[in-house]
């Protein structure tokens, strides 16, 4: 079993490498850009899914963690002149991981005081924190302030981004399948019952925040090293809303749903480009209609492979 899994993993990595070469040589650069952006969206959606969908905690500040990952990793690779190592693929990768780690620390700091808050209150606090993080970056001249940070080594190609997509997916899937995952899910399902069965719900809410902000930070780092330029405007409240929409469309609690949601939300502005300025009017309208008509999203709590299983006897 273990050997099979390892083989599959190697095959996937090889496939990604091959596709990367293929795409870079033959694919329209615009299309490639969109595909890579989809990948970043997938990671963002999967990470938020852990907090909003699996732990049932409504976080509206996810863009902030993405921003932390972006700025920290970009600072390492382009602001602090540390060593040429950080201009290489591996170095950038390390910087991105460090960005993720700092983002997870931010997640811890945000998660901790938010524990006692429910629903709407939590949403507002996380929104506030997201804004505060953004305002901080706006005021730090060393990373460009309002002008933003440019000249970031553009190392995020198809291979690296989608490798991280695979890593994120596997990590989160394994977490959710484990006892720790069940603990997190029980928090969503019924906090009081979970506590009565020995689950420290506060602890697991924080765990959800920390893990999810780590991957949001990764998404941010990949984003920074893809665009080659970031500014505080990339991480406004609207970005958090985008992330929420990704999770909602796919189905809260579903990893495969989050992936699909990430693709759809990234593609939607491209598809709607036809409508020019009405794009941002139609977008929220779609969201409203979605909530009225199919609030459980595409997959609800289920994963795509569970939809094909025979229905449980009722």
């Amino acid at each position: 079993m273990k050997r099979f899994q390892t083989l599959v993993l190697i095959a996937v990595v090889a496939l990604l490498w091959g596709l990367n070469y293929l795409f870079e040589e033959n694919l329209n650069p615009y299309v490639l850009r969109v595909i890579i952006n989809c990948g970043i969206g997938m990671i963002l959606a999967m990470s938020l899914n852990l907090v909003n969908g699996c732990a049932g905690q409504f976080s509206l500040g996810h863009a902030g963690f993405m921003g932390v990952g972006a700025y920290i990793s970009a600072t390492i690779t382009s602001v602090l002149n540390l060593s040429p190592f950080f201009q290489t693929d591996l170095g950038v990768g390390c910087a991105i991981v460090m960005g993720g780690i700092v983002a997870s620390i931010a997640g811890y700091l945000v998660g901790l005081p938010s524990l006692r808050l429910k629903g709407d209150y939590l949403a507002i606090v996380t929104l506030g924190f997201g804004e505060i993080i953004r305002i901080c970056f706006l005021n730090i001249e060393a990373v460009g302030g309002a002008r933003g940070l440019s000249g970031i080594p553009p190392k995020s190609n198809f291979f690296w981004v989608y490798l991280w997509v695979v890593v994120t997916f596997i990590a989160l899937l394994r977490l959710l399948r484990s006892s720790y995952g069940r603990a997190i899910l029980s928090v969503r399902e019924n906090e009081i019952a979970a506590e009565s069965m020995g689950i420290d719900i506060s602890h697991y809410k924080v765990v959800a925040f920390v893990v999810s902000s780590f991957f949001a930070g990764i998404a941010g780092g990949l984003f920074a090293h893809f665009q080659s330029f970031i500014d505080p405007n990339s991480f406004v409240f609207n970005k958090s809303v985008e992330a929420v929409i990704m999770v909602v469309i796919g189905g809260m609690g579903s990893l495969s749903g989050a992936i699909l949601g990430g693709v759809i939300v990234t593609l939607l502005p491209e598809v709607l480009r036809v409508f020019e300025q009405y794009r941002m009017v139609i977008f929220p309208l779609i969201l409203i209609v979605l909530m009225l008509v199919r609030p459980m999203g595409l997959f609800g709590h289920k994963e795509i492979w569970e939809l094909f299983r025979r229905k449980a006897s009722s």
Partner: protein
Amino acid sequence: MNQAENIVLGGDFKVEALTISFGGLKAVNGFNLHLKPMELQGLIGPNGAGKTTVFNLITGVYLPDSGTSVLDGKSLIGLNPHQISKAGIARTFQNIRLFADLTVLENVMVSYHMRVGYGYFDIFLRTPRYYRIEQEFRDHAFQLLKVMGLEQRKDDKAKSLPYGDQRRLEIARALATEPKVLLLDEPAAGLNTQEKAALMGTIAEIRNRFKTTILLIEHDMKLVMGICEKITVLDHGEIIAVGTPREIQDNPKVIEAYLGVG
């Protein structure tokens, strides 16, 4: 850790003078109870008497204004519900609180989490230890489901279960925490006569097989009289009688509290 063999001896549990007020109203006043190891006791009283509030006080959902609560010599006052659960007190809920979207098996497996022997490293790398412990959890949970007659439906979502089975699942889940003391809050509510009779048998079996101390809240007098060794009667937050089923049945204060019912 096999539930059937490695027995956790039912605990000695004592509360004294538990009191709590909500907005000026004394919901529970000076409640006393002593559960000896493996005793099966009942807590009865008319609606609104404060029975579930007592459970909530014992399990840490509410913090009492005053009083003591001691399990095998350890004070439980001020502890969080999850700490009290780890100390050895488990409960079911009057309004079913299952993990609706998790499967039957997963519902039970959640209770094993406090004994999980692996960490994040094992999870992400899927070490042999991870597989071994997960299999253990699955096996134990399955055994428990068999005791409660739910093993056939182990992969069904909890919300898809018929009402009677949901109540049994609640009990199974609570048992999975390997408690010294089990609190059952109206486990027979909504069950038909057949199901109630079966439940009576199950509760007695649980006590004998798992050597648990049990405290039962119930409305159904037959159930209570049938299996409880000692009964405490609550009315308006205060104890009005304590005794054997026979004594309680003939107690005029109890009869009055129920207005002739019971």
